[in-house]
């Protein structure tokens, strides 16, 4: 895969809007060079006021001069982000992590996102659709009020299924209750129990995006190293995307 070097630049917030009670979408504008070449599954790191460590956030979409991220308010960092207004500047590290390998998609790729694991699936779906693939998307949420992005995937021409744990919307249960009969390869991002269940439910290999508390986010501190069948790997630099067969799930 052709990975670009990380870049540290200033972005300006164009929009920052809630999609559900806890999930927000931020649209940032920066230098074209800081956006160009970002791959689906890569992430960025934001420097936030009052916090020491940068906050890693997956990329939902990136084109021209725009960077779109969708984040859930879970702690101080993401709460600070939700309070930010259009026009504010943010120091952002881009081109972090490896991203998904699109060359392995086959003819019928399956994309699975759980909760705030949904956003990185968007850019992946967009690029796979541009390659003319038949893309199946399964999105898992807890309940109807937490559902977001469903229409965005439909607009790309994907086959979309939604599951909710309480059955208030779509198929009742987990993403594994709505998997298509056939898929050539899969790509997923979401909570670890979902990734485990998915890897068990699908007979072929796929790629999973892992999440860990990070120090630097670019491979220097060894703060996020996991044990894989190929030895220790840094989630931030060697990942966050790993083949399911490489992980000790």
């Amino acid at each position: 895969m052709d990975l670009q070097k990380m870049k540290q630049t200033q972005f300006t917030i164009l929009r920052n809007e809630p999609l559900t009670a806890e999930v927000w979408r931020m649209t940032l504008e920066g230098d074209a060079a800081a956006v160009s070449g970002i791959r689906p599954g890569q992430f960025v790191e934001l420097q936030l006021p009052g916090l020491f460590l940068r906050r890693p956030i997956s990329v939902c979409d990136a084109y021209d001069r725009l960077l779109i991220i969708i984040y859930k308010v879970v702690g101080k960092g993401t709460a600070a982000m939700a309070a930010m207004q259009a026009g504010m500047q943010l120091d952002v590290l881009t081109h972090l992590g490896n991203g998904y390998d699109l060359s392995l998609a086959g003819d019928h790729p399956l994309l699975v996102g759980g909760g705030v694991g949904v956003p990185p699936m968007y850019m992946l779906a967009k690029q796979l659709r541009e390659q003319g693939k038949d893309v199946n998307v399964v999105l898992g949420f807890n309940t109807q009020s937490e559902v977001f992005s469903e229409e965005d995937f439909r607009a790309l021409g994907c086959e979309v299924s939604v599951t909710t744990v309480d059955g208030s919307y779509g198929t009742k249960g987990f993403v594994t209750n709505a998997l298509p009969a056939y898929s050539s390869y899969y790509y997923a991002c979401g909570p670890l129990p979902m990734l485990r269940a998915l890897a068990k439910a699908v007979s072929h290999d796929g790629e999973l995006s892992m999440e860990e508390r990070m120090g630097c986010g670019f491979g220097a501190c060894m703060g996020c190293s996991i044990q894989t069948v190929n030895g220790p790997k840094r989630v931030c630099k060697d990942g966050p995307v790993f083949k399911a067969s490489e992980l000790k799930l």
Partner: protein, 301 residues
């Protein structure tokens, strides 16, 4: 901006600290490493280590962070065979090998291989890692043990030996003096301070290892004080380390008694911080009427 450590000249006093810089590869994406005064690479042990369970990292507000990585490294033989030649391609300047161990034998074994490695200029002996059990810091918390490691490593090597000291002690001066008497060529201080954070929602420590090393701007005044205490009590060259994040901090640390400085946690949040500091240093020197950095080393003493 030149300075010296033992008989080795550094083009400037700025050295990225071990454990925050890997083997330089990541930072070479954002600047030419050859501007650096030196590089202290990832702490190396005799055997390969995965390190501690996750999470290993905790946020500490604007003041810094806690880490409990636990000396993850591929082992000294791999480092010498693979990492050092790669580092040499990226960086032609002064290389500091940070070594750690769980016994005197470990320290001697690892230091000897570093002594023989042509890429290594200085060996920094870490007797202060707070994140591994029965090792690291155990050797840095008593003057006798610190002296024993120093003597053993000195007897087995020819390159300058710098002992990296722990702040998690009641009297750092007695440990520094013990290292000096045992033949150390220099000192590096401070390593991280043992700290803790608790996730109040889960009622659990954030760090899987429970405690970890606190670093970042919050420890700078403590590091400065300890460097000053040690500078007044010994005549060894000192690499000052702990929370440095600006060219002003570098000048302050040198005024306290350091001959060079290491930049740690700041690298993790701003990958170009060492370059930024090196570029800002001439202006800070000029603004404070400093012609040569050698004028200010320990000037407050």
């Amino acid at each position: 901006m030149k300075t010296r450590l033992s008989n080795i000249e550094l083009k400037n006093p700025v050295i990225p600290a071990s454990g925050t810089y890997g083997f330089g590869e990541e930072f070479a994406q954002v600047y030419d490493l050859n501007i650096l005064g030196g590089i202290s690479f990832k702490g190396t042990t005799r055997e390969a280590r995965y390190g501690n369970a996750l999470p290993r990292i905790a946020e500490c507000g604007g003041y810094g962070m806690i880490n409990a990585v636990g000396l993850q490294n591929p082992g000294v033989e791999h480092v010498v065979a693979h990492e050092l030649p790669r580092l040499r391609e990226l960086y032609k300047g002064v290389v500091i090998a940070n070594v750690s161990g769980f016994s005197i034998d470990d320290y001697v074994f690892t230091s000897q291989l570093m002594d023989q490695a042509p890429e290594v200029d200085i060996i920094e002996v870490n007797i202060s890692c707070p994140n591994v059990h029965n090792g690291g810091m155990a050797f840095g918390t008593s003057p006798e043990a610190a002296a024993e490691v120093t003597r053993a490593v000195k007897a087995a090597t020819r390159k300058p030996i710098y002992m990296k000291l722990s702040p998690n002690v009641t009297d750092i001066v007695s440990i520094a003096k013990a290292c000096e008497e045992a033949g150390a060529d220099g000192l590096c201080l401070i390593n991280t301070m043992l700290g803790m954070r608790i996730d109040i929602r889960r009622r659990q420590p954030i760090i899987a290892n429970r405690y970890g090393g606190y670093s970042g701007p919050g420890i700078f005044p403590i590091a400065l004080r300890m460097v000053n205490q040690v500078a007044r009590a010994t005549s060894l060259p000192i690499i000052g380390c702990g929370g440095i994040s600006s060219a002003e901090d570098v000048v302050e640390m040198m005024m306290a008694g350091a001959s060079a400085v290491e930049i740690g946690a700041a690298n993790l949040i701003n990958p170009t911080i060492c370059k930024d500091i090196i570029e800002a240093l001439p202006d800070v020197m000029a603004a404070n009427r400093i012609e040569h950095l050698s004028e200010i080393i320990g000037v407050v003493n």
